[in-house]
Symmetry: C2
Subunit: 103 residues, 2 copies
């Protein structure tokens, strides 16, 4: 029985996950997070998702504002990474749930 605040936080989190572009970014950052190269630059994310530079930047901004990712500038490049392992595992759990349903 989550509190009202927790439910509000949950729905905000789910709203961030519900956009295909953002989800795509999160999925990419999740797998980076698990490798020896835990961050990706905007141009990488652009290539991976196939979305426009502006769109990627906008959605990364949303994720950053929500605290799900952080950014670090290195020269002209800006590298993003997931802030929390909890988010990465949540994505895994959700994927498992979807696969269970599909089966």
């Amino acid at each position: 029985m989550p509190s009202a605040n927790e439910q509000a936080a949950l729905s905000r989190l789910f709203a961030l996950f519900s956009n295909p572009t953002r989800l795509n970014l999160l999925v990419a950052l999740r797998s980076a997070f698990r490798s020896e190269q835990p961050e990706l630059c905007v141009c990488d994310l652009e290539a991976i998702t196939g979305a426009s530079q502006s769109l990627v930047s906008h959605q990364l901004g949303a994720l950053r504002e929500a605290g799900l990712v952080t950014s670090r500038r290195a020269g002209r490049l800006v590298y993003y990474r997931m802030t929390a392992a909890a988010i990465a595992t949540l994505l895994d759990d959700a994927l498992l749930a979807v696969r269970r349903e599909a089966a």
Copy 2:
């Protein structure tokens, strides 16, 4: 690395979870699902969530259409229940993730 289909299914699922009213319904149905009384009628859900009859019915319709809940009529009442344990556990996982972040 989820497939494109899986990602689409994921984002649809998250979209359903992102609305506070629907999330509230799901949370209520989740705890019912775990008790000896796994279903709740619309009027119960109305009382629990505090939302209007029409709104509750609309959102239950959305959840039903997505296959997350099923309904059963008993006289004038209609009882709803979660279809999948996977969804219940996903809600638990998400709540844990949010609590981890808040801490």
